[in-house]
């Protein structure tokens, strides 16, 4: 299914798009992005319950629907299109995948059903103040304390970190380095000693937080010292998810800019009749379609356990990063002066394009990751 969707998947997408268009018009996006939380529990839980969104890729044994990344990709693409303000990416694409990758059977049974039902929101805290996304950058320590651990240090750039009910945290055994001694831990959002501060973000629809841990009680998730592999896998899954979210936003920007130049009259004719606009629009279609192909391919590759997934995931992210931002730049330009105003909606997606470009590594980093994987002598 790397090159097409099934009729069931298409139907799922149509229903989802309709629901998100009704629930998340830009007026609502603007209202929620101006709040401290960035989303509203009641509205999100209702939508999630009706559509079963956080359950999509959780296996049935843990209260989920048992679908794969193909379906999760559809959800994210539609959310990227609608800029839905909800803690979905943090909960489903980050925390859930980390728990599925690292957790023991017992832990999965304990943690996942309430995520699937939408009762619990969650996130993954891995980056620290330097904003790096790799294992070696993790400085936070976890010291055993009886049956639990105590976490000390700082996490930053944590998606929805100021509101998540459950935090999955990457920390290391004191004195360890690199990929050694890393473990995942779970921490409740209201744990004593945890200070959470929302960061002011350029993209107001994507809330980030800085978390200060002062001897915070944590439970080990998965094997002690064995988190490097599951973390790498989680990041691959996260960038594929993000690439799918990004192509949804890019397509929306492209469509809106196209509608605008068809409606806008200058020099006595539609802007859309000028070749300079037509060629730009054609280039945008090519950029977006190529990025969609890569994102869909990568999601299917995850589902099929492709051995090249490291390179394919990075390819999809690098492709989406360039395509989304380029589309956003063109979209502002095609709107002209109005496109630079706050009242026009284009900047909402422009900023999402910018934040997505950087999140989990920019195009340069992912291109290098690709080359490391495909350039190795086989």
């Amino acid at each position: 299914m790397r090159f097409s969707f099934t009729p069931e998947q298409e139907e799922f997408r149509v229903g989802l798009r309709r629901a998100l268009e009704a629930r998340s018009p830009t007026k609502e996006v603007r209202r929620l992005m101006a709040t401290d939380a960035g989303w509203e529990r009641e509205g999100w839980q209702k939508l999630n319950r009706e559509l079963g969104l956080t359950a999509v890729h959780i296996p049935e044994a843990y209260g989920g629907s048992g679908f794969g990344y193909g379906e999760l990709g559809i959800v994210l693409e539609e959310m990227g299109r609608g800029l839905l303000c909800a803690p979905f990416f943090s909960t489903a694409a980050l925390a859930t995948t980390a728990i599925l990758n690292a957790g023991t059977e017992e832990q999965k049974r304990a943690l996942l059903p309430s995520i699937a039902s939408g009762e619990t929101t969650a996130t993954l805290a891995f980056s620290e103040d330097d904003g790096r996304n790799d294992c070696a950058a993790v400085a936070m320590t976890a010291a055993p304390s009886g049956a639990v651990y105590r976490l000390d240090g700082t996490k930053s750039f944590v998606l929805d970190g100021h509101t998540a009910d459950l935090l999955v945290v990457l920390a290391r055994q004191p004195g360890s380095k690199g990929e050694d001694g890393l473990s995942f831990f779970t921490v409740t959002g209201d744990a004593p000693g945890l200070e959470r501060r929302r960061l002011k973000t350029m993209d107001e629809t994507r809330k980030l937080a800085r978390l200060q841990f002062n001897s915070v009680e944590a439970r080990l998730l998965g094997p002690a010292g064995g988190a490097a592999g599951p973390f790498a896998r989680t990041m691959q899954q996260a960038v594929v998810c993000l690439a799918n979210e990004m192509v949804g936003g890019a397509e929306r920007l492209r469509e809106d800019a196209l509608s605008y130049v068809k409606m806008r009259m200058q020099f006595g004719r539609a802007l859309a009749s000028f070749q300079t606009m037509k060629h730009k629009a054609a280039d945008m279609l090519v950029d977006v379609e190529l990025a969609k192909s890569a994102a869909y391919y990568a999601a299917a590759a995850l589902d099929e356990g492709d051995g090249d997934i490291k390179a394919i995931a990075s390819l999809a992210k690098a492709c989406a990063s360039e395509a989304y931002l380029q589309t956003a730049i063109h979209a502002v330009q095609m709107h002209g002066g109005i496109g630079f105003t706050w009242d026009n909606d284009t900047h909402l997606w422009f900023k999402r394009a910018k934040s997505s470009e950087i999140l989990f590594g920019d195009a340069n980093q992912h291109r290098e990751t690709m080359m490391q994987h495909w350039g190795e002598p086989s």
Partner: protein, 424 residues
């Protein structure tokens, strides 16, 4: 025979039918033409064609399965390389029964070779501005003028000709589409040397060349519509998925004949892989030259690989849609534009990798001139078969439904439309 006549064909039934037929009929001792006549009569040479015209009315998606079965036992297929496939598609769509009878079988057997007489020195992108004229004299058409970029014209038996038959109507309305006999005194063919040194194309001059009245494919005025069919098939072939014609290396008369045919047909195209950028050479060249560790080069290679993989996957999405019977969009046009981007980036990357050696050519240069040939052949990709600019017009108008630019030449008689300003 397990002919699935009563039921909808399935992958299994098609596979069973074709392999049963091949088992009974494949014979490597026949001559190429004898075998292909048999094949054409069975319908297995072109299964997606209509039953009454050498096909089996099968959906095009089954062609791959039929090809697989041929491949399994080493059976030779019908002639597929060259302009003849465009001729067949056009004749099937617009030709009379006489055309189908006269031409289709000899296209499949490979006995006839074809060329496409569309572009002119004065009309490349503006192809409907053709000024080669077709005048009715008695019951024949008399053709005068010049065509250019005509692949294989020096070998072709027949040409697909777009010519102006009425100068008093707007340009698209005055064209007629003919099949022209290339082997006649009024047709002269001269090779055209390109910037990469090859001469794969020709200039074709018509001096009172004759077309019999029954070889008019369109009505006068409908020539443009018919030409559009030909061009659509040409662009669809540019999506990068069409397989390069390769000959079997097996021994035996029929294989030797096929090898000779392919060698002749493909001769003008031998630099085409270089024109597309030779993405396949990039990794090995980067390693062989010791430049693979250069981080700037690595970024450029990665950009190329992203573009070329995503282009391939986009073409496969388009093909999957087609195979699932969803309406055929102009994905061919998207693929053509993308292949230009890929080729251009590949040439950049090959230049970075090659360094000073890229100053050289032929036997003094890497890979006996292949790299040099890439660098001077890639500019053709964004021009041939519809320029990038025309592709963007097509995409914006047909896919994105954007309005055409106001035109200054479509609402007046063609004879009043300005021509090139030439120094006098």
């Amino acid at each position: 025979m397990s002919e699935a006549v009563m039921n909808e064909p399935t992958e299994e039934s098609v596979r069973a039918d074709v392999s049963a037929w091949l088992k009974d009929n494949w014979n490597a001792d026949l001559s190429l033409v004898e075998w292909r006549k048999k094949l054409a009569a069975s319908g297995w040479g072109a299964p997606h064609w209509p039953k009454q015209w050498y096909g089996r009315d099968l959906p095009v998606k089954f062609n791959a399965i039929v090809d697989e079965e041929f491949h399994k036992i080493g059976a030779v297929g019908v002639a597929k390389a060259g302009i003849r496939t465009l001729a067949a598609a056009t004749i099937l769509a617009h030709g009379t029964d006489l055309h189908k009878e006269k031409f289709l079988l000899r296209i499949l057997t490979g006995e006839d070779t074809w060329c496409q007489l569309f572009s002119e020195p004065g009309s490349g992108s503006d192809m409907a501005g053709a000024v080669t004229r077709a005048d009715r004299q008695g019951n024949k058409w008399i053709v005068n003028g010049q065509k250019v970029w005509t692949t294989s014209a020096h070998k072709a038996h027949w040409g697909l000709l777009l010519a102006r038959a009425n100068w008093d109507v707007p340009k698209h309305k005055g064209l007629a589409y003919f099949v022209l006999d290339m082997k006649q005194p009024g047709v002269q063919v001269h090779p055209l040397k390109q910037m990469n040194g090859h001469a794969s194309f020709n200039q074709v001059f018509f001096t009172d060349a004759i077309v019999e009245p029954e070889f008019l494919v369109s009505e006068v005025g409908d020539g443009w519509t018919v030409a559009t069919t030909t061009l659509m098939h040409e662009r669809r072939g540019a999506d990068g998925l069409r397989s390069w014609a390769t000959a079997s290396t097996a021994k035996g008369r029929i294989y030797e004949e096929e090898r000779a045919e392919i060698a002749t047909t493909m001769e003008p195209y031998k630099w085409y892989p270089q024109r597309a950028g030779r993405v396949d050479l990039v990794m090995e060249r980067a390693k062989a030259t010791g430049r693979f560790a250069d981080p700037v080069l690595r970024q450029e290679i990665a950009k190329l690989l992203i573009m070329s993989k995503a282009a391939e996957w986009t073409a496969r999405r388009a093909r999957a849609a087609q195979e699932q019977g969803r309406p055929q969009g102009p994905e061919g046009s998207l693929g053509k534009l993308v292949s230009s981007h890929v080729a251009r980036q590949a040439a950049r990357v090959h230049t970075y990798i090659t360094g000073s050696d890229a100053l050289l050519s032929g036997e003094d240069s890497p890979m006996n001139g292949v790299i040099a040939e890439i660098l001077v052949s890639v500019p053709a990709t964004s021009i041939a078969g519809g320029t990038d600019e025309i592709q963007r017009n097509i995409i914006s108008e047909r896919v994105l439904k954007m309005p055409k630019e106001p035109s200054v030449d479509t609402d007046k008689p063609f004879k009043d439309v300005p021509r090139n300003i030439t120094a006098s």
